[in-house]
Amino acid sequence: MKPKLSVNIGKLKLNNPVMVASGTFGYAEELKDLVILKELGAIVTKTITLNPRRGNPPPRTCETPSGMLNSIGLENPGVENFLKEKLPFLKKSGVPIIISITSESGVEEFVKLARRLDGVKDISAIEINISCPNIRNDTKIPRCQGTRLIAQDPKATHEVVKAVRKATGKTLITKLSPNVTSIAEIAQAAEEAGSDALSLVNTLIGMSVDAGTRKPKIAAITAGLSGPAIRPVALRMCWEVYQKVKIPIIGMGGITDISSALEFFICGATAISVGTANFINPKTATEIISGLKEYLSENKINNMKEIIGDLKL
């Protein structure tokens, strides 16, 4: 018997629990020659804002031991250009499309974006990115001025999620930051405010310096760390959140193959997302899907759901 791979994220049914993470898969068109897109569980697109955004000055990326730093600064064409230029291709891919959004100003921009996307039928879900470390957060949310992220404050998280919840009937996913003392506390705030699911984690804030020139390797000085280097931290956070919330978790952070994907399922993730690994082997996500089928068959497990949170203690 073929094991059942499908899972639900809010109202959204995924054929399989393996998706690709925001910012690491462009708008999918860039990968069409390299990946059989229709095999993916879902595609999460690069975070968009209401208006076009230029992003940060280069250099924007550098490699670090078993990881990388990035400070793209959310370069994107803005929501209207996105809908006109990028969505038509995404639609053709035949898999659920999850649109990641953020605000450059305040809660109102989140609400405007969510309302705008709510009416677009080809969009399956909205992910709110309240955890990008690469934009200066000058939001009008009083608690988040300066460089604080919304996802670093449970009350601000609650406020934003609640406002977006009111603006859309689509499945709502909140993306959390690992740069916090207690991620479970933030997760609970998002759940209480009506988020249907949680994506975790975004990147860890880091730095790298060229000792020869004494210059930072990234122009924006600090940047987000991703890749296998952050996997143990991300996994621990997945487990912590799983014990405290009922809504599904989309786990990510350094997943590169089937065994690292399984770690996240076992620690409570209903679905997983592949990020940095797309750069190294664009077929990582589809290889994980085949790996998952094999693993379940070999272990005589009929339904994927049986391994979620099944950490043997």
């Binding site: 690491t24 462009g26 370069e75 077929k283």
Partner: protein
Amino acid sequence: MPQIKAKIVYNKKVKENYWCCVFNAPEVVKKASPGQFLNIRVEDKELLLRRPFSIHGIQGSGLGIIYEVLGKGTKYLSRRKPGEYLDIIGPLGNGFDYKTQGCQGTMVPVLVAGGMGVAPLFFLAEKLRENQNPKSKIQNVVLIGAKTKNHILCEKEFKAAGFDVRIATDDGSRGFKGYVSELLEKILSADLRHVQSASSKDAERSRGIYACGPKPMLKEICRISRKYGLSSQVSLEEHMACGIGACFGCVAETKEGYKRVCKDGPVFKADDLIW
């Protein structure tokens, strides 16, 4: 732009710290154009990102790169043996526009290479020659800049392709002493004098520059190109994560805002770049 496993047929040191690697990659060869590059996986535990290398030449189904061993990734590459396989994505990016410019006889191609910059320019040289009318009297020129006389790459190969080869070395151990961009400016100002005495107005505009090399050199080339009103194309390098346009990690500033070096480049018109 396929992702393939390419079998290495040759991988040896050329001179100093420069290596040449040839692998069998018919799928890539079919589509390759000068100025495009490959993103090669380094399957080392500690290393993560692929490393970009320009396509240096093709022969049959073989595809060659030349590279300088600088860090762990290129060291890994230099240890690979014939018979082993490399995981390659390519050809990537937009290469040189040579068909409309360099081959119609209205432009005299001048190739300007700084250091490793010869890598894509040699492939370009071969394509220019292939596409030019053999009867045309165009004398293709290449300026090669290197640290010392021991670091000059591909001189013989360019000569065999019928190029007039001019050399500049930083230490003056061969050819012009100084930067290759200075050598270019010297040649252009001599052109100008020649043109003025011959009173032919537009001859100085007839050079088309194709350049690849370190950033400061390319910046100079762009300045010179504007000063002399030339049409120039330069191939940029930027740190890359994906190499396929998906991450927006590799941007360069242009008149139309940031552009991705890996997807919109690596070759740009000099006039479009902002330094």
